[in-house]
């Protein structure tokens, strides 16, 4: 027997529509999704119930420019439990100016296959 809830309600976060999804288990134990207005809702709900993933954003100080911050994010979402460990890695960053938008600041951060990238050009 699975210890997953037989029923879950969640709001899809893929776009601002915010569909209210209902996840049910059918008789065979397969997940069924209801309430999605587009096809993206199904894999989203399954992933959100089994292995939620998130992107994250913060900013880091850039060396060589006075008091300038470069904002950063991940190139894609990571399992939610990686959010705080990755933030700790990002907190060590002190990139040198110039920093370009899209520049990889940490490749394959903590082996997640996802990069930490700058989202702002500084210097």
């Amino acid at each position: 027997m699975s210890d997953l809830p037989a029923l879950d309600r969640l709001t899809c976060v893929l776009c601002p529509v915010g569909c209210e999804l209902e996840v049910r288990r059918d008789a065979t134990g397969e997940l069924e999704i209801h309430g999605n207005q587009c096809d993206k809702g199904v894999p989203f709900a399954i992933e959100e119930v089994l292995h939620p993933k998130r992107n994250l954003a913060t900013s880091v100080p850039v060396r060589g420019t006075p008091a300038k911050m470069a904002s950063v994010r991940l190139s894609g979402p990571v399992p939610r439990e990686f959010v705080f460990p990755i933030l700790a890695e990002i907190a060590k960053l002190r990139p040198e100016a110039p920093v370009r938008r899209g520049q990889v600041l940490i490749a394959d951060v903590l082996g997640t296959g996802v990069d930490v990238i700058a989202t702002r050009t500084v210097g």
């Binding site: 893929l14 601002p16 207005q37 954003a57 008091a67 911050m69 904002s71 938008r101 989202t119």
Partner: protein, 414 residues
């Protein structure tokens, strides 16, 4: 005698709406486009919105605010658009003369058409009249976002957030990332005023409680905030005696609404709507002052930057056409907000206009909704659209393809 510098289209404000307006004007063939931005850099509020979720509609991918801004800015600088940052517009007249103070000094600018894109500002403690002492540690959510994301400052250790606007929700997560303990978000209404996705990603992910029908009734502390008193409210939003509890904290963030920044519009005599706080416009986004157009958060508050930009493209294009001599007959058809609708925009149409799209916002959460655009006199249904659910936090659209010659009402029915 003062000399007057002439331009075809002058755009006031270089955020998501103003950048798009400058591009829209240029792409519609305007010869001289001047974009004036008060800050030292273009991009407006996007620069401090480091979270992702921008660009889904404009760029078909989800990016952060700074990336969204840079992409729009790159498009603007490729065009022969004159961009001036550090330029403050001090005054605007109904005949479109601007008094501009910039690094180049003070000067007069005359425009054939003007696009208002000044954005909005946050409601403050004074506007919601929270009783108590006046210690340090009280921030609007957006100013906290600026201090954390752009100035790398730690604003406190234990925070309470009043109001569930999107910036407040985003800041709950941002402060959690920075090691600040967020004790809870308190919302006076029975529903969250921010987007659903932000409630889930910014609060639920981190176990931050969202207390609905609750508000801060007192701020305590001498030099720095020491605690806030929260209480439940009744159906009239009045605090209920006996429900108070004291929450120790050193920081209070306010996310209690945004106000379109229309000081210049008022100077030009532009008619404002008491509901949106922005200009009353026709289907070309022109205000009551001929040749003055409005778009983005100065027109009405948007929940998604992309829609502010789309409005900017449209206003810029219309401003270019006005500058080229095109005239649209005045709006004589009035569109009113019917049952369950907070507002619908544009508020006026030229009689005979067709293919007009309205932005509207509902007054309360609704389920299984039919939205109707009906003739006031004939009861004729011009457009209908069904929604599973509509929330006040979500700006929605409905289009009427047919020609309209009578006053209309937009209404929602469960």
């Amino acid at each position: 005698m003062e000399t007057i510098e002439a331009h075809d289209v002058v755009v006031i404000g270089g955020g998501p709406a103003g950048l798009a307006a400058a591009l829209g004007a240029r792409r519609a063939g305007a010869g001289g486009v001047l974009l004036l931005e008060r800050e030292r850099t273009l991009g407006g509020i996007l620069n401090q919105c480091v979270h992702d979720g921008f660009g889904l509609f404009l760029y078909k991918e989800t990016i952060s605010g700074p990336e969204y801004a840079e992409r729009l800015i790159e498009d603007v600088v490729r065009e022969p658009i004159k961009v001036e940052t550090g330029a403050m517009v001090l005054d605007l007249t109904a005949d479109r003369v601007l008094r501009v103070n910039s690094r180049a000094g003070y000067r007069l600018v005359k425009a054939k058409s003007v696009v208002l894109a000044m954005g909005c500002r946050e409601r403050t403690r004074g506007m919601i009249e929270i009783p108590g002492t006046r210690p340090a540690g009280i921030f609007t959510a957006g100013s906290a976002q600026n201090l954390v994301n752009l100035q790398n400052l730690r604003i406190g250790n234990q925070a309470v957030i009043l109001g569930s606007g999107d910036i407040g929700l985003i800041m709950a997560r941002r402060l959690t990332f920075e090691g600040v303990a967020v004790k809870g978000v308190f919302e006076i209404l029975p529903w969250a005023s921010g987007l659903e996705r932000n409630v889930r990603q910014c609060l639920m992910d981190f176990g931050i409680p969202l207390e609905l029908r609750s508000t801060v009734v007192e701020i305590r502390g001498r030099d720095r905030v020491e605690s806030v008193v929260v209480a439940k409210v009744d159906d009239r939003l009045a605090p209920v005696a006996g429900t108070e509890s004291v929450i120790p904290c050193d920081t209070l963030l306010l996310s209690v609404g945004l106000i379109p920044e229309n000081e210049l519009s008022k100077r030009a005599g532009v008619e404002l709507s008491p509901i949106t706080g922005g200009a009353v416009v026709d289907q070309t986004l022109m205000t009551s002052a001929p040749g003055i157009f409005s778009c983005g958060n100065v027109l009405h508050i948007h929940d998604v930057a992309d829609w502010a930009s789309f409005e900017g493209f449209a206003a810029g294009e219309r401003a270019a056409r006005y500058a080229a001599g095109e005239r649209v007959a005045g709006g004589t058809v009035r569109i009113s907000a019917g049952p369950n609708v907070k507002y619908a925009l544009p508020q006026f149409l030229t009689s005979g206009a067709a293919g007009v799209e309205w932005s509207f916002r509902v007054a309360r959460p609704l389920r299984n909704v039919q939205v109707l655009v009906k003739g006031k006199a004939t009861e004729k249904v011009y457009s209908r659209k069904k929604f599973g659910r509509l929330l006040p936090s979500e700006l929605q659209k409905i289009k009427v393809r047919q020609t309209v010659k009578e006053d209309l009402e937009v209404s929602c029915h469960e």
